[in-house]
């Protein structure tokens, strides 16, 4: 009980609200610009309007895209809500709207999954739960108060815990032989930059690929710690800037780098913006050691349970792949929502054989004919999506012909430069296999072959 009371006191210690507000503004700006960029690139149409088939998340099969004009409206509302919470006007409502709309769009089609989109959803949800508009917001301007804007310390802790988990699990995911012993897939990716002037030769050299692989793993595993420690924070942030700007320059990751740089500020002293703006004296991290009674969003038993549950899930979800046989980078069972970022170079070719009942001959279906390019690319390397499409083909056949069909798949894949091999058991009727979260026995295990140049088998 004493321990709980002590924790409660620490969690409710008042902190400057500026750091939280700055994060809200930086994050909101990235979300707003990201939404505008998404629309400007024509992806609303490409990903949500034009496809005639969508890959659904297990349990979310009911989520469907709205008709075309409404989908554009959804993105308009998403951009508007991002602008509103950036400005701090009706912040909570705007964050709720943004979270719901953003998550809705992500749930429409599995093929659009990106780790940083998932992170954006989580951060929006967390900001919704926090008091991020106590200062530097239109809300604060509308109800001015002579007292300094404060929030309880736990609000920073929660964001720090979230970001620490992201980095840590991204680091743990890199602890494998391909990454550490073969510098793959970085070596492969960096080779494509061999033509860059000045640095091309350096970037594409093997020692640099190894150095980047090991440094990347070390960075992800420990950066949260260096950011937390006041003595190393400054240098660590320089590291964050360099790391994410390099990623932004070298790889097509969209707003990912900017979201991560913005999110690194949650590790700063809560009053860092004041210090940064005025450059007067050291930042005052701790406003007071005594919990203020009128502090907004005070920590409580209920909040402790909720945040505890949330963080437990955030730990359990990235670890769930241990419940599945085989290497997660190959089977992709437990791959998503686990911060397995920039980890694999996987290419595949998938075709389906639809056997009408009572017929020996099969119709070969080339999925590219129906699927958008992004959908095909994503589906071909992810067994659960391959099965979804097989079931879709069986349903379509039944609807068109009034009879059932068996659907088999010819799927081949190559991971990190390994020779292509069978990915899915070609003799299993995928349409008849139940869709579930249980291990998929029809995934062919990754052959133990070294990363070699191809030869004819």
């Amino acid at each position: 009980m004493r321990g709980w009371n002590h924790l409660l006191r620490l969690a409710n210690q008042p902190r400057s609200a500026q750091g939280l507000a700055a994060f809200r503004i930086l994050f909101g700006t990235a979300c707003f610009l990201g939404t505008c960029r998404f629309a400007a690139k024509g992806w609303i149409s490409d990903l949500y309007v034009l496809p005639t088939f969508h890959f659904k998340y297990y349990g979310f099969e009911w989520v469907a895209p709205l008709p075309a004009p409404w989908m554009f409206g959804v993105f308009f509302a998403m951009g508007l809500s991002a602008a509103l919470f950036t400005l701090g006007l009706a912040t909570r409502a705007a964050l709720a709207v943004f979270f719901l709309l953003f998550s809705y769009c992500e749930l429409i089609d599995q093929s659009t999954y990106l780790n940083h989109y998932y992170l954006i959803s989580l951060l929006a949800l967390l900001l919704f739960a926090l008091n991020s508009d106590e200062c530097w917001s239109l809300n604060a301007r509308l109800r001015p108060s002579p007292a300094p804007a404060l929030v309880p310390a736990w609000q920073y802790w929660l964001l720090q815990a979230q970001m620490s988990l992201v980095y840590f699990f991204a680091g743990v995911a890199k602890l494998n032989a391909d990454w550490l012993l073969d510098a793959e897939p970085l070596q492969r990716w960096m080779n494509t930059y061999s033509d860059l002037p000045l640095v091309g030769e350096l970037l594409s050299s093997t020692p640099v690929a190894y150095a980047m692989s090991w440094t990347g793993a070390f960075f992800d595993l420990t950066i949260a710690l260096w950011l937390l420690l006041p003595t190393t924070r400054r240098l660590a942030f320089v590291g964050v800037l360099i790391f994410h700007l390099m990623i932004w320059l070298l790889f097509p990751v969209g707003v990912f780098s900017w979201v991560m740089i913005a999110a690194a500020t949650v590790f700063f002293s809560p009053s860092w913006p004041q210090h940064w703006l005025t450059r007067s004296g050291p930042p005052l991290a701790l406003v007071s050691r005594e919990p203020a009674r009128d502090l907004p969003g005070r920590f409580s038993v209920r909040l402790a349970m909720l945040t505890g549950l949330y963080l437990a899930l955030q730990v359990a979800i990235p670890l769930r792949h241990f419940a599945y046989p085989g290497w997660v980078n190959w089977t992709e069972e437990g791959f998503r929502f686990a911060w397995r970022v920039m980890l694999i170079e996987k290419t595949a070719q998938v075709e389906f054989r639809v056997h009408a009942s009572g017929s020996e001959r099969a119709t070969t279906v080339f999925p590219r004919e129906q699927l958008a390019q992004l959908q095909y690319t994503q589906m071909s390397t992810q067994p659960d999506m391959i099965q979804q499409y097989a079931k879709h083909l069986a349903r379509s056949h039944a609807a068109d012909n009034g009879e059932s069909a068996r659907v088999f798949v010819d799927a081949w894949a190559s991971l990190n430069g390994r020779p292509a091999q069978r990915y899915i058991d070609p003799d299993v009727d995928l349409a008849a296999e139940p869709r579930s979260i249980f291990p998929k026995k029809w995934i062919v295990p990754l052959a133990e072959r070294p990363l070699l140049q191809p030869s004819l088998e």
Partner: protein, 359 residues
């Protein structure tokens, strides 16, 4: 100086170098740019140029024939069609940009298939003046000319029917015009579509980066093979409950279906190994420490051997020995796998046309 600022100084320098590299001078050599330019100079321009001259000759020959029909002139016409067809099919791997996109969109005008003889016959029956611009894609291009030269009515009809012969003249001239437009669309002195590839990342409207430009061509190599399997062999062969259908065959009247496929593969082979002393994809792969020469050679050979085992023409083979046609599709599948999985993996060129963000 303590180590921390030194490390950050080094990293900052590296970052600045990268930024400078990304936004750097425009005349920096790049193997991908060189490869794309070489494909244009040594493969595409010569092939399209040949195609242009062959189609112009075909139009001229058809005029000569219609003026004074003879058996020999008819054979010259047929040979001309075959030669032009060969060039066109070899270039099919470059079936994007001017062939597919507006304002050119030349592919339907040149090669709308399967052929629709009824459309051609209906238009001829109507008679009057023939304006190629008023004739739909199904009424002109290679398949319509093929019908007139190799179809059931045969040479006698063409020789005795001046309207029919005039129609042939109109659509061969139109084909020649399309071939000329195609070359102009790609050439530097014309619309210079090649620059869309070679100037990727430097103002190209179609490709944001050289990676995307190279990806387009390499992926087209794979799609071409898939297209042969699905459209040129799969659809005529039929599957499941549908029966084999010779009317869905490419070059069905001339019996050139397998030659078309071999020409497609020849184009693909020239892109991979290089042509006319130009660069090939193998040269760029070698820079990436990858070598697929042997598997590529062997798989192409396997496909050709499988084709040679099928009794030609394809229209008969799909009915009489479908298992041999299936064997060709299986060999093609192996070739496609090599390109779309292993070559693409080695080059880190994920198959994408509308690149969304990664991770």
């Amino acid at each position: 100086m303590n180590p921390a600022p030194r490390v950050s100084l080094f990293c900052t320098c590296l970052l600045l170098s990268l930024t400078a590299a990304a936004c750097g001078p425009t005349d920096v050599p790049d193997a991908r740019r060189d490869l794309l330019q070489s494909w244009g100079d040594t493969f595409l321009f010569p092939t399209y140029s040949r195609f242009k001259h062959q189609t112009a000759q075909l139009a001229a020959d058809s005029e000569v024939y219609c003026a004074a029909p003879s058996e020999k002139r008819f054979e010259t016409l047929q040979a001309g069609w075959q030669q032009a067809r060969e060039s066109w099919k070899q270039s099919e791997v470059f079936s994007f940009g001017p062939t597919k996109e507006f304002p050119w969109r030349l592919e339907p005008k040149i090669d709308f298939w399967p052929a629709r003889p009824d459309t051609v016959e209906q238009r001829i029956e109507l008679g009057g003046e023939f304006d190629a611009d008023q004739i739909g894609a199904a009424g002109k291009g290679f398949p319509a000319i093929e019908w007139l030269l190799y179809g059931d009515p045969g040479q006698a009809d063409l020789a005795n029917d001046s309207v029919r012969c005039r129609y042939l003249g109109t659509i061969t001239e139109d084909l020649a015009r399309s071939a000329e437009q195609l070359l102009t669309a790609w050439e530097p002195q014309g619309d210079n579509y090649l620059a869309e590839l070679t100037q990727a990342g430097r103002g190209s409207e179609s490709f944001d980066s050289l990676r995307m430009a190279l990806s387009e061509v390499v992926n087209r190599m794979g799609f071409l093979v898939e297209n042969i399997r699905s459209e040129k062999l799969g659809k005529p062969l039929g599957s499941g409950k549908s029966n084999a259908d010779p009317t869905k065959t490419e070059s069905q009247f001339s019996g050139r279906s397998f030659e078309d496929i071999k020409d497609n593969l020849m184009g693909l082979e020239r892109l991979y190994f290089g042509h006319n002393r130009g660069l090939g994809l193998r040269d760029y792969l070698a820079k990436q420490n990858a070598n697929f020469d042997e598997p590529m050679r062997v798989r192409l050979e396997h496909v050709r051997e499988a084709i040679d085992r099928v009794p030609s023409p394809l229209t008969r083979a799909i009915l009489e020995s479908p298992q041999d046609v299936v064997a060709v599709t299986e060999r093609l599948s192996e070739l496609q796998r090599l390109i779309q999985i292993e070559v693409v993996n080695a080059l880190s060129l994920t198959l994408a046309f509308n690149e969304n963000d990664g991770d």
